[in-house]
Symmetry: C2
Subunit: 224 residues, 2 copies
């Protein structure tokens, strides 16, 4: 396909893409999926931007990093753009994921419907507590963390989620990296030390609330 080549080209050209732009790609995709559900066939950069509180130029520039997806005088066709974005983000294929920690949060993730539709399949859940091992949440049965290594290898898992207590997080991260995982979603409020080829997506709920607290108390931040 031509557009695939176009994308590959950009990557090959080593034209690095600003990470804020990549983050916005997820927002675009989410909105486009809403629009598709509502039967909307095309959208202009202006309308897409307005809904997401961004500028039209920014939307166009972000998308243009990856190819020429729009049509002059028309805008972007919703369905094809969805396909493109999924391809760019890598969610047009299925990623196998493991979740480590079956506490309240881990269980919430195991039962969360949102992952499957985005191309993520949870192939294993792990915990050290004897009570939790053997229990089934969503469609996954919790195993003992000792079996983590084996599952990582047999399923060629590239993404892992850490939902264990803070004290155990680094140790689990080490196991995941050891087992070949390249991306970690970390819910433990600590900074993980990982090799440079492993990306960590930190999700610190208390820190996020803190940020709200700051903005609400002072208001003295540049708008994002």
């Amino acid at each position: 396909m031509l557009t695939q080549l176009a994308i590959r080209d950009d990557v090959v050209k080593n034209q690095l893409i600003p990470s804020p732009a990549v983050q916005r790609l997820s927002l675009y995709l989410r909105r486009l999926e809403e629009l598709a559900r509502d039967g909307v066939g095309k959208i202009s950069s202006r309308d897409l931007a307005a809904y997401l509180h961004l500028t039209a130029a920014q939307v166009r520039k972000d998308l243009a990093y990856f190819g020429q997806f729009g049509r002059s005088g028309v805008g972007y066709r919703v369905e094809p753009l969805i396909e493109e974005l999924r391809h760019i983000l890598g969610t047009d294929r299925t990623w196998t994921v493991v979740v480590v920690g079956a506490g309240d949060l881990g269980r919430a993730l195991l039962r969360y419907r949102g992952f499957g539709s985005k191309g993520f399949e949870i192939v294993g859940a792990f915990d050290t507590s004897a009570e939790k091992v053997g229990q089934k949440f969503g469609s996954v049965t919790v195993r003992h963390t000792d079996e983590l290594d084996e599952v990582l290898r047999t399923h060629d898992v590239k993404l892992g989620v850490i939902a264990v207590p803070t004290e155990a997080a680094q140790q689990i991260a080490d196991k995941l990296c050891q087992g070949g995982v390249k991306g970690i979603l970390n819910f433990a409020p600590t900074t993980l030390q990982t090799p440079p080829d492993v990306t960590v997506g930190p999700v610190d709920l208390a820190a996020t609330l803190e940020q709200l607290s700051f903005r609400v108390s002072s208001g003295s931040v540049r708008s994002p």
Copy 2:
């Protein structure tokens, strides 16, 4: 206190602070709390930076936006800096918070220990399902969402958490804004439309995984 005045001055001077800097403040605080727990009394910008994968200059500049907290030749004293950061972030006082939605995620939040220690007190949990209303999770009993308005007013709630299905999120956001909430932590994968004086902290788990997917597949993003 002098440092309080110093901070007020900066704010008054309308010297706006870069939001990435404010986000890092939470990281500094988290690390300093770890250090305090380990009995460490002082830390240099270099060591703090190294642990968090940042540069020493950045740590110094971020902190200097708010005052002169360090000592030449010594570094930063851990305990006083913790106090300063809490004051800056606004978590040296208690914030009352409501959680709307008592599904898996909402319940996980209600039972999460991490909020209390950071100065956030959950004063109400709400759901529309008859099964959930009346049940108790953590220390909070779930009420019907119809009672949300009343609780917002009687407790002067400034922060709210949305953990309801996507379709209901905007409607709940409207109720929260209506009730005087100024900060919303939004777990629903949708963009909320809110008045400009309300800050939304979006937490989209699927989108965060997508970002990992992108980085793992292509690796072509500037390092954050």
